[in-house]
């Protein structure tokens, strides 16, 4: 079985996933992916956010119109157009911040793991193009072989809420990643005068 793995440690912020998502044949022109810098002033680290496809999707649980459905194989879909009342409950409730409200359509849209592709054995668009392997679609055996330094995790704690997801997050097995810093790798101290002025 092919599964979806997110490895934020590999993300290079190129937005290829964002661009490719909008090429998906079921929602051409609209990207469902969020890609953000964590804290650009101090790092180029970025994180791609696709739907985690929860076993018990909070978005569906809070939907007053019962518009959000989960397929038999665990994919949480975009809201059903006839039912969605564009109330934004799902947008506010999702612990991962995934659903987007398309105001012009009065419709919540979100990643459906390229259901048109994955249901016929193709990889999702984002995980196809991602040039760094931050988004990966393949079997458990493949990811374990390719990424021995990380382990897939699919259980997350948000306060009292425990969430189990279809999508896995790759987490380093050993130490946290060392923060690379310019100043600490420098010999000279340019602008010493400025350094001294800063407490």
């Amino acid at each position: 079985m092919q599964e979806f793995f997110i490895d934020p440690n590999r993300c290079i912020g190129c937005q290829s996933c964002v661009a490719a998502c909008s090429e998906c044949d079921t929602h051409r022109g609209t990207s469902m992916i969020h890609l953000e810098y964590v804290d650009r002033p101090i790092s180029v680290q970025t994180v791609p956010v696709v739907c985690m496809h929860c076993d018990s999707p909070t978005c569906a649980e809070v939907c007053p119109a019962d518009a959000i459905k989960r397929t038999g194989d665990g994919v949480v879909q975009t809201a059903r157009k006839p039912r969605c009342i564009a109330c934004n409950n799902c947008v506010l409730a999702c612990p991962f911040g995934v659903p987007k409200m398309k105001v012009e359509l009065s419709l919540m849209m979100k990643c459906d793991m390229c259901y048109d592709r994955t249901s016929v054995g193709l990889k999702p668009m984002c995980a196809s193009v991602c040039p760094s392997g931050a988004l990966y679609f393949g079997t458990r055996e493949e990811i374990e072989h390719l990424r021995p330094r990380s382990k897939p995790v699919n259980q997350f704690q948000f306060g009292a809420q425990t969430i189990t997801t279809k999508v896995h997050m790759m987490v380093p097995r050993t130490d946290a990643v060392t923060h690379v810093d310019v100043l600490s790798a420098m010999e000279e101290r340019p602008l010493d005068d400025v350094f001294e002025e800063i407490p």
């Binding site: 912020g13 051409r28 002033p41 101090i42 392997g133 790798a185």
Partner: protein, 734 residues
């Protein structure tokens, strides 16, 4: 008369860049493509495989090309959105003539009349001032067939010695160093050799943004236990997780690699057998690097001594390794020495020509490799032959059916051509696939030179900032409107396939060139009916040269997902990994160590201009932006250049994140918003160079060049910075 016919505002309003976005059949989820065309991306030297979806002679989208082994479906955002350059409102679909009376500055004209006018002007200039008064500028985004034809056109049809190409801004430092060290100019190793490397050194390559697919190779090497060392003044995305980050002071790379070699010698981390049997020149280099003690290396490079020692130990004690470099160490007035200093540590390690032991230069342009092999370079003939070598001239003249003595001598590099235009020596110019007004350094001078031309013609698909100066614009073809081969970063020759026809009067570039030759009454050698015919002549012209393509055919490329040159016979499988027999391309078969002496940048900082400026790229734009500044989603991603400043430096000048900030060099000023980040050295500011006019970083850069490769020093010049408080001047920038 190559001044702008109208103001820039008028020209931009009429001819763009305008933004093309997904609409019509490209956004309609019900559109079924007529066909899917397997080809490659039009942008960088990775040359990712891509399938283009075509409907009614329009590329409407893409499908990942999982079966192409280099990228396996992967693409960067430029590749994903590249198709939006087709069906673009800015597309030039007729010939144009400069017309200040026309409200748009240019008037459409019949194609044949335009060709006749170009031929007449070439004839007039050459008969008045001599054949060398007309020059040709070409480019390395052209297919190899076109690049070959441009070289032949200049030498055989125009009989001018003045042809050069924009690979001068890209691959020439690496190329010159490769020739000096190995006798052959190509990445030595297939990219799969990265995967098993214990140590990967990345020097001056913003890999994640400029060659994104390579990121996956590097990070897979880490998963396999490899250590990654990144040499860069900025923490680029590939540096973020580096095992060792060496924040080199711009322009000091030679010192770093000489310092590493010093430690390799001191600790006897050398492959003595390899050095003795397969190289010459080690003693002189060893003697030279004696002065590069860790302490001195640290002082000059600005890198902590302990990091230099750690890098030397990682590299020195590794069993396998891969070293790659790109423009970061090549764009210098000592770019060749920078590359030689990296090659020296590869040769001292003996780790080359074997599995998981590699060296490569990360090619920039789509055909940055193939475009530098077959004669559009000022001193070169096809097959990497030398235009100054009598035997080489004799051979190529024979293929071309002309006398060797009729071939011109070597010309000069493209920047020197600008100086010759300025000096009145070159009066007329034909330019294709080149946007020097944006891409050359000190571009106020470039503009002045262009304005002095008596006649200027440009073959292009959009009216680039350079084409705005043209007297006649001839409508050329997009990448997806023609077929041909290119050589990607590994030296793998691959096939670009045609997906759609050129619109209106636009024609494949090789047809335009041949039409000019015919109009000049010099059709001999310019009667090709297809790119395949050009390629077949190129195969013969390259035969026996270092870059031997004779054994490569279109069919062989298709059957094997590419063929790596050299490939001398039809039976030959190609050469994915060079030097497997430990023989290098010199008569004695031995590689050369070359002394790489440290020289500071041409323009170092001083009290007046105390800050270093370095320039580079962002992932969503490509080179001078002629294509990518017209693609809406790519512009949305990074709409405007910003100047990256470390908070320490920003605080010194009272600059906050987002403030309008003026950067001033001895050549020009630019005012941009500041991006205050700790991911850059505090003595250095960075500006990406993809934009024209008042946003152009190349208003500031210096036209100092490497004495051998003639590459400009884009990566270092001296500037001063200050917050821009005057509202009026800021308004002008918007």
């Amino acid at each position: 008369m190559a001044t702008l016919p109208k103001s820039t505002d008028v020209l931009v309003n009429a001819w763009g860049p305008h933004l093309n976005r997904m609409e019509g059949p490209r956004v309609d989820t019900g559109t079924e493509p007529d066909r899917i065309v397997p080809t490659h991306c039009c942008f960088c030297g990775q040359q990712c495989g891509i399938n283009l979806k075509v409907k009614d002679n329009l590329v409407i989208g893409f499908e990942p090309r999982y079966d192409f082994p280099f990228n396996k479906g992967m693409l960067c955002p430029k590749g994903v959105k590249r198709y939006l350059q087709g069906g673009h409102p800015d597309r030039i679909t007729t010939a144009l003539r400069r017309d200040p009376e026309n409200e748009n500055g240019f008037a459409p004209m019949p194609y044949d009349d335009a060709i006749a006018r170009v031929a007449a002007e070439i004839e007039r200039i050459q008969s008045t001032y001599g054949p060398n008064a007309f020059g040709v500028l070409s480019g390395a985004s052209l297919t190899t067939e076109k690049a070959y034809l441009m070289g032949k056109f200049a030498r055989v049809c125009l009989k001018t010695k003045y042809i050069d190409y924009n690979g001068r801004l890209c691959m020439v430092s690496a190329g010159a160093a490769n020739k000096k060290s190995f006798g052959i100019d190509r990445s030595a190793s297939p990219w799969n050799d990265i995967l098993g490397a214990e140590v990967v050194i990345i020097a001056g390559s913003n890999t994640a943004e400029c060659s994104p697919i390579t990121t996956n190779y590097v990070w897979q090497a880490r998963e396999n236990g490899g250590k990654v060392i990144v040499v860069d003044p900025r923490i680029t995305p590939i540096a973020r997780t580096a095992d060792l980050f060496l924040p080199v002071k711009p322009g000091r790379d030679v010192a770093l690699f000489n310092g590493i070699l010093h430690l390799m010698i001191e600790n006897d981390w050398l492959d003595h057998d390899f050095i003795a049997q397969h190289t010459v020149g080690f003693e002189a280099v060893a003697e030279h690097v004696q002065q590069w003690t860790p302490k001195r290396t640290a002082e000059v490079t600005g890198i902590a001594e302990k990091s230099i020692r750690a890098a030397a130990e990682l590299w020195g004690t590794a069993k396998t390794s891969f070293l790659m470099h790109a423009r970061g160490i090549e764009h210098h007035s000592h770019g060749v020495e920078n590359c030689l200093s990296t090659i020296n540590i590869v040769l001292a390690s003996g780790r080359i020509g074997r599995p998981n032991c590699g060296y490569g230069t990360v090619v920039g342009q789509g055909n940055g490799q193939g475009g530098r092999e077959h004669g559009q370079k000022c001193d070169q003939l096809p097959g990497w032959r030398d235009i100054s070598n009598p035997a080489h001239r004799e051979y190529v003249a024979g293929v071309w059916g002309v006398k060797a003595e009729e071939l011109p001598e070597a010309g000069v590099d493209c920047y020197e051509m600008m100086r010759k235009i300025d000096a009145g020596e070159i009066k007329g110019l034909l330019s294709i696939c080149f946007n020097p007004k944006v891409s050359l350094p000190d571009n106020a001078f470039v503009t002045r030179a262009l304005e002095k031309l008596e006649f200027f013609t440009v073959i292009d698909f959009f009216l680039s900032e350079t084409a705005q100066h043209a007297d006649i614009v001839l409508p050329g073809s997009l990448h997806e409107e023609d077929e041909g081969v290119v050589a990607q970063v590994e030296g793998r020759v691959i096939k670009i396939n045609k997906a759609v026809d050129p619109p209106g009067d636009a024609k494949q570039d090789w047809r335009v060139i041949q039409d000019i030759a015919h109009a000049l009454g010099r059709p001999h050698g310019f009667t090709f009916e297809s790119p395949r015919e050009i390629f077949d002549e190129l195969r013969v012209a390259s035969k026996g040269g270092v870059a031997d393509y004779f054994g490569i055919t279109y069919e062989k490329i298709e059957a094997n997902n590419g063929v790596c040159w050299p490939c001398p016979t039809l039976e030959h499988p190609g050469t994915p990994r060079l030097f497997e027999d430990q023989r290098f391309y010199f008569p004695d078969g031995k590689a050369r160590f070359n002394v790489a002496a440290y020289r500071p940048p041409a323009e170092d900082v001083d009290a007046e201009y105390p800050v270093i400026l370095t320039t580079g790229r962002v992932v969503s734009q490509f080179l001078s932006g002629t294509q990518t500044r017209r693609i809406g989603p790519l512009v949305d991603q990074y709409p405007e250049p910003r100047v990256e400043i470390h908070p320490r430096l920003a605080q010194k000048y009272g600059i906050a994140d987002g403030d309008w900030t003026t950067v001033e060099s001895r050549r020009g000023t630019v005012t941009l918003r500041a991006q205050v980040v700790t991911t850059i050295r505090p003595d250095t500011v960075f500006i990406p160079y993809h934009w024209p006019g008042k946003k152009s970083a190349n208003q500031l850069t210096i036209a100092a060049q490497d004495p051998v490769s003639k590459i400009p020093e884009y990566k270092v010049c001296a500037v001063r910075i200050y917050p821009e408080r005057s509202e009026g001047s800021v308004e002008q920038q918007r």
